[in-house]
Each structure stands twice: as structure tokens, then as C-alpha cells.
Symmetry: C2
Subunit: 222 residues, 2 copies
């Protein structure tokens, strides 16, 4: 499970990192004459995007953990202070899934015999909260941020080694669409959908975003 | 609920739209001398980002719906063809939440009396899948994409009306941090965390991303 979480972060960060910097570079290629401006814009976007994704993900993870702990404390309090009301909520759950009146009573009695078991049940099935891994947020943020940066360098790399944006764009398009296809394939396998269809979708999003950015930038050409 | 979903999309799209184009424009302001290049890069980024977010969100929603329907069909099949194995899975659920052997049997019998109720139970508690709203994906994609674009125009707008990037950047920083704070506040209220703390976090991410983009772009200055 841990290696699959790691893989998910990498693939998500990288496929997003491939898309937006690619579209930005493509868009600028239609509107400016110098590679160095595209490199600067690309590097700035990669820095911005990876920090926004990484730090955003970290804070979201921390928020989720805070939220879980607050609710956990509250459930322990409620089980202590208003056990009858809490038992009623357990019964409502069993009523909703279709158990008979008699069974609702008995099941609620059994669940509430053990306080930890009772609170775990309330957290998961009344509130729909799974216990978050406290170390996951940091690792995940780092993985996603770095993968975004690594992904972003793919579409940008041809602009380092060519003389004009048009030359670079041709290499960038081939290279990036190929990478998007490969990452779309693995991303789809991880999320359990048809990998060929998924790869096509991811590639298509990249191509449409790049095409639109190219068109729009051309309208505002310097 | 529907108006709150709408609000969530708007706030998410807009606070992301404020962050990345802001950082890109700030980064370029430290490295290029002309407003028009920043405007073109910003517009290209906004087009790329809103399409990537919008279309990405739409396809994710469609994938989720496909996945749900495939699993639903499979559960109906399994309940029909291998009812004993499926009943065993219901028992495992009740064992995990802490019911006694005897209660596991009885509860599984009651759940499996009605096929729709049985399948709904398996979908939700064996597979952890909630029925997705089929129209939600399209609406959500549109709302997020457009809000991203609207958010992105805030940090970019000063570059339309000023003569140099440095002038524009000053107005952009004040305007965008203010908007990030306001949107962070509402975003936090929606997700149920302390709104002042949340507003501060969102503003901080924007400021750090913009600062990093500025610093990195300066290193690669044309």
C-alpha cells in the first residue's frame, strides 16, 4: 500500500506538471520570438505550480488531521456524556441499511459495549471519516511538488537547446505528448480504469490545453 | 446542498486561479522589462490552467460515474450468481464493526432479503462508493474552469494598465493577497476550519509561491 501511495503521488504530480508548463510554453511559442523568455516563464510557472500544489497539499493534509482529531475528541465526550443519544445514532445507521427494529436495538447494544469500538464506528459510519496517516501529508506534498517540477522540465527542456521557439515547440510537442500518454497509462492503471482510454484522455487534455494557450496567446501577440 | 456545491467549486477554482498566475506574473516581473510579455504569458497560463482543471475535473467525474456503474452491475451479478459468498462479505463487515457471531448471521440475513438494499449496502460499505450525481461533473468542470480564469485575471489586471512590470507588481501583490485572504476565509468556512487561520494559510501559500517564482526567474534573467 505504501509503495502504491508513493506511485500515485508521483504520477499525479508529474502528469499535472507535464500539462500546464507544456501549455504555457506552447502558448508563448506562438507569441514571443526568444527562447530565453519562455525558459524564464516556464521556470517561474514550475516554481509557482510545484509550491502551490505541494504546500497546498501539505496544508490540506494537516487540516484533515486536525479535523479528525477534533471530531475524535468530541465523539469520546459525547459517548461519555450523552450515551443514549449516541446509541440512537447507531440505531439510525442500522435502520438506514435495512435492519429490523429488534436487530437495530441489539446491534446498537453490542457496538456500545466497548467505548473504543463504539467511537471508531461513529467516526467511520456516522461522520464518514477515516483515520489519516499523520506522516502522509508531508511525504505526499514533497512527492507531488517534486514530481510536478520534474514533469514540468520535460516540455521546457527543448527550449534550452534550440535557437527559436518554433524549433523547440516541435520537439516539445512530440516529447510531452509521448510522456503524457505513458503517464496517463500508468495513472489509469492505478485508478482502475482502462489504461489505453485513460492514456488517450490525459494526452487529449494536454493537447487541448496547449492548443488553446497557443491560440489565445497569438491573439495578444506582442 | 446544491448551492453549497456551486460555492465550493467557485471558491476552489478562484483561489487556485489567484495563486499560480499571480506567482507567474510576479516571477516574470523580476526578469523581463515589458508588460506585454507578462500579459501574454499570464493569458496563456490562465487558458492552460482553466482547461487542465476544468477538463481534468470533467473527465475525472465521468470516470467516477463509469466506475460506479461497472461496479453496480457486477454487484447485481454477484448477488445473483454467488449469493453465499456475498452474504459472507456482509458478515465480515458486521464482524469488523464488532457484532457477535450470532448477530452477524441475523443481520446478513435481513440485509440480503431485498436485492436492491443488499447491493446498495455492498456498494457503500464493501466498496466505499457513493452514487455520483451524473450532471455534477459537467457543471463542476465549468464552474471551476471559469472561476480559475476569473481568479487569474485579478493578479494580471494591473499589467494591462501600467507602464512597467515593477509598477504593476506592486498593485498586483496588494490586490491579490487581499483577494487570497478573502477567498481563503470563505474556503475555510466551507471546509469547516477556523476561517482566520485558513485565510492566513491560503494567503501564505500565494505569497511563498510568488516569492519563489520571483527568485527563481531572477536567476534565469534574460
Amino acid at each position: 500500500m505504501r509503495s502504491s501511495d508513493f506511485l500515485t503521488d508521483i504520477v499525479i504530480g508529474m502528469s499535472d506538471g507535464l500539462t500546464v508548463p507544456f501549455a504555457l510554453a506552447a502558448g508563448l511559442s506562438g507569441a514571443v520570438a526568444s527562447n530565453s523568455i519562455i525558459v524564464i516563464a516556464g521556470i517561474a510557472e514550475i516554481a509557482a505550480g510545484s509550491i502551490a500544489m505541494g504546500l497546498g497539499g501539505y496544508l490540506a493534509g494537516k487540516t484533515e488531521l486536525d479535523h479528525y482529531n477534533t471530531e475524535l475528541k468530541r465523539e469520546y465526550d459525547e459517548v461519555e456524556k450523552i450515551p443514549e443519544k449516541e446509541k440512537e445514532e447507531v440505531k439510525v445507521f442500522f435502520a438506514n441499511i435495512g435492519l429490523s427494529k429488534d436487530m437495530q436495538e441489539k446491534a446498537a447494544e453490542e457496538i456500545s459495549k466497548d467505548k473504543k469500538q463504539w467511537v471508531d464506528f461513529m467516526m467511520k459510519y456516522e461522520l464518514g471519516l477515516d483515520k489519516p496517516d499523520p506522516k502522509r501529508a508531508t511525504k505526499s506534498a514533497l512527492n507531488i511538488g517534486l514530481s510536478y517540477a520534474a514533469g514540468g522540465l520535460v516540455p521546457l527542456s527543448p527550449y534550452f537547446f534550440t535557437d527559436t521557439p518554433v524549433q523547440a515547440l516541435k520537439i516539445s510537442v512530440v516529447l510531452t505528448l509521448l510522456c503524457l500518454f505513458i503517464f496517463g497509462f500508468f495513472k489509469s492503471r492505478i485508478t482502475g480504469i482502462n489504461p489505453w482510454l485513460g492514456a488517450l484522455r490525459v494526452t487529449l487534455i494536454g493537447a487541448v490545453a496547449a492548443g488553446a494557450a497557443f491560440g489565445v496567446a497569438k491573439l495578444f501577440e506582442a
